[in-house]
């Protein structure tokens, strides 16, 4: 298990957002978390990424307690995330965004008098990620001038530039046209293989994407795990289909 959550419970005041959620992510897995609004998906992501300290329960990443340690420490340990709403650096160029991630990973952020342009390792690695994500052509464009799909891609790409062991994607294709969705997912899967990412967790609403790419699906409902199984088994589970999914995508 790379990432493991055991009996995680979160209360917001009197409201129970998560009630004893347990899950584990193994090496090489692509896990999707699904669930209707208010099911506790965002809370779960916040707990897994160390932003939120659970009321009770355990979260372990590579056998290390990571409850509430915060995003900075977690990024250093090898877990990266992307956001549901696009998070970019508006005034930095594509290449600079990726360089920032590489600088952070290599721990060179405190080099006050070194030349960034002369740092071959940073330059090469940032360019490599840009090429991997098909952003190399616009590497000198300011992030704010990119089309929406590319902004999303850049957000994810900068997470990948950290070369994480595990990556959490909060709706990687939200706000992107249907035509672009599969393209983004293809790039994502290729990139994770190339970079040596050991596991991907995503929260996603688009069932075509969920069923097309996941090794395992975790269905949340009202703060509890409703089902945790392979896509084929989820398809057969009437209860999950009715409460969480509504309508199954065509098995094309």
């Amino acid at each position: 298990m790379i990432l493991e959550a055991r009996d995680v419970t979160v209360f917001y005041g009197d409201v129970c957002a998560l009630a004893g959620v347990s899950l584990g992510v193994r090496d090489g897995e692509f896990v999707s978390i699904i669930g209707p609004n208010g099911a506790g998906k965002s809370t779960l992501i916040n707990v897994l990424t160390g932003v939120l300290h659970p009321t009770s329960g355990d979260v372990r990443f590579n056998d290390r307690d990571v409850r509430g340690i915060g995003p900075v420490a977690l990024a250093r340990l090898g877990m990266a995330r992307s956001f549901q709403l696009v998070h970019i650096f508006p005034d930095l160029t594509v290449l600079e965004t990726l360089q920032a991630a590489v600088v952070s990973r290599l721990g060179r952020g405190t080099r006050l008098f070194a030349s960034l342009a002369g740092d071959r390792q940073v330059q090469a690695q940032a360019l490599e990620v840009a090429e991997l994500f098909g952003l190399a052509g616009q590497r000198h464009a300011a992030s704010k001038h990119l089309p929406q799909g590319d902004k999303k891609l850049l957000d994810v790409a900068s997470a990948f530039a950290l070369r994480p062991e595990i990556i959490l994607l909060d709706e990687p294709t939200s706000g992107v046209s249907t035509a672009d969705k599969t393209a983004i997912m293809e790039i994502l899967v290729t990139a994770s293989r190339r970079i040596g990412c050991r596991a991907i967790i995503q929260v996603e609403h688009d069932m075509d994407i969920v069923f097309g790419y996941s090794d395992r699906i975790i269905a949340l409902h009202e703060g509890k795990v409703l089902a945790d199984a392979a896509p084929a088994a989820i398809r057969e589970n009437r209860h999950v289909v009715d409460t969480v999914i509504g309508r199954l995508p065509d098995p094309a």
């Binding site: 900075v72 650096f89 005034d91 952070s104 008098f113 030349s115 950290l162």
Partner: protein, 320 residues
């Protein structure tokens, strides 16, 4: 390319100024150069890190008073020693003050820095024996690069050796700052400015970077302040008062994210009131195009339009 040409001609103009310009204008350039050093640091904090400080007069004051203390209480007269002492003292004070301030952002950060600035101001004013209160302290004429220039007439000293010394310090400060903003550290500051949440997700400790930027900018402010002292020779705090009250530093720095962009605006402020239209004619078209400045100007004009009418009413009230 054009930017480089402008920069080169500006440097050339500054080099030739004492030779060609009347003494009055040469002396006007001394505070400009001292404040230009301060502004370099402030721009790192504001333009590159996104924090607006209203309290940097605190560090200007520390630099100026460091010069006064060193020259009046010790036999040391060397300006190099004064500048180093000012920088070190600035960093020592900025470390705890910054650590408290950078826990906040935006206006909360600004107000807290202002509070520290006013605290220091009150300290200067009330500890009369130590600081001379509103009388200020003397900054005895420092030696430059080991040369004792005590016998020189004051204006010759200021318009000659001191002018070029200031210019040299400004050049070194600008080069060092250029290096800093083009370093991996500089990139991290920009990412913290643009999107702190994203920077954290990428493993960049936002608070720590803000603190580093704060301390560096304080060192710049203190060095600039130390450079400001000698040509007043008395009452360095008068400058402190100016800086706190007028917020002119920010006037010059508003909305600008490039290393040397704020400086023409600052220069304009150093021109005497009657000459400002010259600066305005040269600089305004450029500045005015800047979206933020455009908004400010509109507000300024509206404010200006109100003022005479209000005055008139008051006068009418008196006569009636």
């Amino acid at each position: 390319m054009i930017g480089r040409l402008v920069l080169a001609s500006a440097v050339l103009a500054l080099l030739l100024l004492p030779v060609v310009a009347p003494l009055y204008y040469v002396l006007l350039m001394l505070p400009f150069m001292a404040y230009a050093v301060v502004l370099l640091g402030l721009n790192l904090l504001f333009g590159y890190t996104g924090l607006v400080s209203f309290g940097h007069a605190l560090f200007i004051g520390i630099g100026a008073y460091a010069g006064a203390f060193v020259t009046t209480h010790t036999p040391v007269r060397s300006l190099e020693v004064i500048l180093i002492a000012a920088g070190v003292l600035g960093a020592v004070v900025a470390a705890p003050v910054g650590a408290l301030c950078v826990r906040y952002v935006k206006i909360y950060f600004g107000m807290l820095t202002l509070a520290f600035g006013m605290l220091f101001y009150t300290f200067l004013l009330k500890f009369y024996r130590l600081t001379g209160g509103d009388e200020g302290m003397r900054v005895l004429r420092p030696s430059l690069l080991g040369l004792d220039l005590g016998a020189m007439p004051k204006t010759d000293y200021l318009a000659g050796p001191y002018y070029y010394y200031s210019l040299g310090i400004l050049a070194v400060a600008a080069l060092v700052m250029w290096r800093i903003v083009h370093s991996p550290f500089g990139l991290c500051l920009k990412s913290v400015r643009d999107n702190p949440a994203k920077a954290e997700a990428l493993g960049l400790g936002v608070t720590r970077y803000r603190w580093h930027a704060f301390v560096i900018s304080a060192v710049y402010a203190a060095v600039g302040g130390a450079l400001l002292g000698p040509h007043r020779e008395r009452r360095p705090h008068a400058r402190l008062l100016d800086a706190v009250r007028q917020h002119r530093l920010h006037d010059a720095a508003r909305g600008i994210r490039e290393l040397l962009r704020p400086h023409p605006g600052r220069l304009r402020l150093h021109l005497p009131a009657g000459h400002r239209h010259v600066g305005r004619a040269v600089l305004a078209p450029r500045l005015r195009r800047h979206p933020r400045v455009r908004g400010d100007l509109r507000a300024e004009r509206a404010h200006g339009a109100l003022r005479p009418r209000r005055c008139r009413r008051r006068i009418e009230g008196v006569s009636a």
